[in-house]
Each structure stands twice: as C-alpha cells, then as structure tokens.
Symmetry: D2
Subunit: 87 residues, 4 copies
C-alpha cells in the first residue's frame, strides 16, 4: 500500500514535469505536432494513474463496502466516476 | 436483472441499426462530417452499453467473488478490461 | 478513392457483425468480461473507421476549401466533430 | 495568435496546479473518488488544450502546406497524432 502510494506520487511528479515541459514548448513556439505528442503522453499517463487509483480503490473501499453490505452505493459511485474517463 | 438484459438488447439493436445507417451513408457518398457525427454517436452508445455491463458485472460476479474471498483475481480482470476503454 | 470506400464498407460490415455477436452473447448470458472485450474491440474499430473517414475528408473537402479560401469554416467543423471523439 | 498562445499558457498553468493538487490529495490520503474526479478534470483539460493546439496547427501549418502543394505529408502527420487521442 505504502509502495503503491510512493509509486503514484512519483508518477505525478513526472506528469507535473511533462506539463511544465509542454508549457515551455508552447512558450518557445516549438513545432505543434511535437507538442501534441507530449500532450497525448501526459494525458495517457494521467489516465493510467487514474486506473491505478481506481484499482486500489476497488481493492480497498469498494471491497470493504461489499463485505459490509453497503456495496450498492460504492458501485454507483465507481461507475459514475468511470463514465468521466470513457467517451 | 431480466429488465436490464432486455434494455441492453434493445440498445444493441439500435446500435446495429446505426452501424447499418453509417454503411448506407458511406455507400451513398453522404457528407463526411454527417457520417462522422453518426460514428461518434454509435461509438458513444457502445461505450455506454459497455459501462452498463461493467456495472452489472461488478454488482454480480465481482461482488460474489469478493464475498467468497476471491476478489483479487476478479478485480485484476476488471481493471484489465477497463484499460481498453480509456486512452 | 473507390478502394478506400470499399475498404470502409467492408470494415463496417465487420463491425455490424461484431455488434450482432455482442447481442447474441448477451442473449445467451455469456461471461460479462468476454462481452466487454468484444464491445471494446467494436468501439475501437468504429473509432478507426472514424479516423479514416476524417483523413479522407481532410484530404478532400478540407483541402479544397482551403485552396478556395474558405478553409476557416471547414476547419471549425473539423475540430467540432473531433471533440466528439476525445474525452 | 498571440492571444491564443497566452490563453494556452494560462490553461497549462492551471493544469500544472491541478496535477500538483492531485499530488497533495494522494499524499494526504484523501478519498479516492474525489482524487479520481480531479484526475478526470485534469485529463479533460489536457485533451482540450490538445484540440486547441491541433486547431491552430491546422489553420496555420496544415493550411500553408496545402496551399504549397505539400498537403499530403502534413495530413498524414495530423491523422497520426490524432490517433493518440482516440481509443
């Protein structure tokens, strides 16, 4: 659990660096397509962090909720947030 | 449960009709942007059917697995399929 | 151009078959995760058809519009439809 | 053009702040679902910055390329990067 957290924090630091890199690329009028590749990469990295978090949420909170017979609400909430990642 | 199934089947019939409509639009050389709107709509409808199915899967199989202490595997499988919907 | 059209039509036929297959899987109560894999595949296939169409639209209509100095409107329309594919 | 650039830079600053906020939320063990909402928001914001950049790229570089009869390559590149945003 603690290792998962450290891993997530490390990935977020990297994403923050990517976003700052994109900022600089725009500031320095770099080639749009190169910037777009960086944006797609940062976006995909954020999506993966989201899925990792969702996984540990399901293993933790949702699992506990189901065992304590309050699974329905937890699953509603889970599906609700999932819809924000899928178009 | 049975009502959910009927609802899903109805939505899939509609999506099948949309896909056939897109086929015809291409065949008849309709305006690309109009076709693209139909494709985006069919794609979004498929995504929603996926999320509905995922919801009932979580309420059913995953919940059962968790209660029977075989939740880990079920959650691995869940996250794995989720990644196919998120980029 | 004609070959592109035939290729698109063939891919749509295949997607229609996939959607019908998903219908049957739900009807026969197949395992949710297997159905979800099929849905993800059909959805990705639709996205690719969309991108192919978008490509030929850009090479055709948008290119013509730009050459005839009515590019702005065509690009507005292009970006507008793109937003329906990205979340 | 200059105004567009300033607007993009402002939006990237905000996204950088969002990513830093997500970092802190994870560090302080905030509720997963709240963190996931922030991740979805940052991810959507990055997608929109991408689409804005893609729009100005199409109005600028791609339009110029088409007028100078080197449109094909520019459109290949455009579609290639687009595929990174659509699943």
């Amino acid at each position: 659990m603690k290792r998962d957290k450290e891993d997530l924090l490390k990935r977020l630091r990297r994403i923050e660096g990517q976003v700052r890199g994109i900022y600089r690329m725009i500031e320095e009028d770099k080639y749009c397509v190169d910037i777009l590749h960086q944006i797609a990469a940062a976006r995909a990295a954020l999506g993966k962090v989201g899925m990792s978090l969702l996984e540990s949420h399901t293993r933790g909170c949702v699992t506990d909720a189901i065992k304590e017979e309050r699974g329905d609400e937890a699953i509603d909430e889970l599906v609700d947030i999932l819809m924000k990642f899928v178009k």
